[in-house]
């Protein structure tokens, strides 16, 4: 069986790209670039399954779950992301590989089967969105990567790395080399493995988190996840342009 695996890796180097032999291989997947492949509702389900919020400071429920994203907002975000990468996998492979069995290498299909499956792409109904990532850029100088997600049952198989590699490949082909990614503590190791590091120019990452110390009836805030962000007052300017609805607290 080891010989067969080696044969697979020779023909399909992407399958075993990790040098660590004990890392579990990914199932057969198809990677697409472009927002047209992503259905906002499927994306919302994927984000929910991975418990990933598009808000950096999400309002978590008592059991630690983030609320599901607004599909309309997802649609807008997809339309205005410079790079959108989606990863699909056939339902049966998701079940097979995601079952958590340690012997999935043994139970994987024979090389011939793999060939046939790769030659015949899965139809849209047959496949599930299992991975996603996107980047926002200004088309010339800088880009930032957001929302890189893989469903939990297929994590730790190198799919996330492939997503990031694809995003950076597309960005560099457009001449953008200043690529950033905001990382929480537990995302840091992943991005380090993808070739990201602390800023060599020593910049400090900062986010706007100002909330009014106590809520006064006439201070304008906007809800962002669990934060109520203070809208900087603009003296006469703000009273002239603010929406009268902006005072009501709305979710997402």
């Amino acid at each position: 069986m080891a010989v067969a695996c080696a044969a697979i890796s020779a023909s399909y180097p992407s399958l075993h790209f990790s040098p660590n032999p004990s890392r579990r291989p990914p199932p057969p997947i198809s990677i697409f670039a472009g927002s047209s492949y992503v259905d906002p509702l499927q994306l919302r389900a994927l984000l929910g399954a991975a418990n990933h919020s598009c808000h950096r400071f999400p309002a978590l429920s008592p059991d630690g779950r983030a609320p599901l994203a607004d599909p309309d907002k997802l649609r807008v975000a997809l339309a205005h992301s410079s790079v959108v990468v989606s990863v699909f996998c056939r339902f049966k492979f998701v079940a097979e590989y995601g079952s958590g069995a340690r012997w999935d290498v043994v139970s994987s299909p024979s090389p011939l089967d793999m060939l046939l499956q790769r030659a015949v792409p899965a139809s849209a109904q047959d496949r599930q969105l299992v991975g996603f990532g996107r980047a926002v850029s200004d088309g010339g100088l800088a880009a930032s990567i957001h929302d890189v997600v893989v469903i939990p049952s297929l994590q730790r198989r190198g799919i996330g790395r492939k997503i990031v590699a694809q995003i950076t490949r597309i960005l560099t082909s457009r001449g953008i080399y200043d690529i950033s990614a905001l990382c929480s503590e537990n995302e840091r190791l992943f991005f380090e493995a993808c070739g990201f590091g602390e800023d060599r120019l020593g910049s400090t990452t900062m986010m706007y988190t100002r909330t009014p110390p106590d809520y006064k009836s006439n201070q304008v805030v906007r809800v962002a996840g669990r934060l109520q962000l203070l809208v900087p007052p603009g003296r006469e300017l703000s009273s002239a342009i603010l929406n009268s609805q902006s005072e009501t607290i709305r979710e997402e």
């Binding site: 200004d138 100088l141 800088a142 990382c183 602390e198 706007y208 603009g234 009273s239 005072e247």
Partner: protein, 272 residues
Amino acid sequence: MHDDDGGDACSADSHRGMLGAGASSGRSPSLPYAVEHTKRSGKVLPLRASFWDSIKSGFLNNNTTQVVEPASNFIEEEDTLAQEIILLESTQSDGTLEQIMFSSAGDVDAYDVQALCDKVGWPRRPLTKIAASLKNSYLVATLHSICRAPGLEENDEKKLIGMARATSDHAFNATIWDVLVDPSYQARFICLNLSDEELVSPLLTGPGYDFLGDMGRGLGKALVEQLIRTLLQRDIGNITLFADNKVVDFYKNLGFEADPEGIKGMFWYPRY
């Protein structure tokens, strides 16, 4: 504590969200043509507002002047993305009227931006890249100085003296880049009871009181605050920037937090 490049507020090709205040080289002549004239469609609401309070709080380095005002019943128009506001107005001794105008219309030439970058001491970037980045940024806020000599109503001299831009996915995230204010412009509006020593004080160097820096901070504050205001009104909640060490305090003053909850920005350094 601060890396000293002889006053240059940058190193290498750093351009991430810094307030630029490098050595001034005098005014650059305005060029008769533009590489790419970026223009955004949007209603322009000419509004006059006195932002002296905003700039004064920059002087006093006040932390949170939470000026609260009653919300009006004014319903905002569909797209108030484009606005022009006169921030300051002053009449010189020779009768010249000078105005500082804020605009979020994004109507700015790549050439002007490059000239401004030169003034604050940033290394040059290709013009086409600057033009592309301006065109594709979600928000571009600018400060222009408009000089009108007495009697010559048609011949306004308009000069770019400050800029800030933000990229966004229009829904969740925004990153602020390239916050610049022309340092040579700060001297104009300083109070007249300054000593000569204070007038020639060194440029923005640190947390100590620096008068020439405070004016720039006030103008920069107005720029960034307007960006934040617009982004929040669009319910874009993740507002990020990458600040040079020297300006971290400036952004803290504006409500930004460094590495909130351990969130850090990482950058791609491919190993070939």
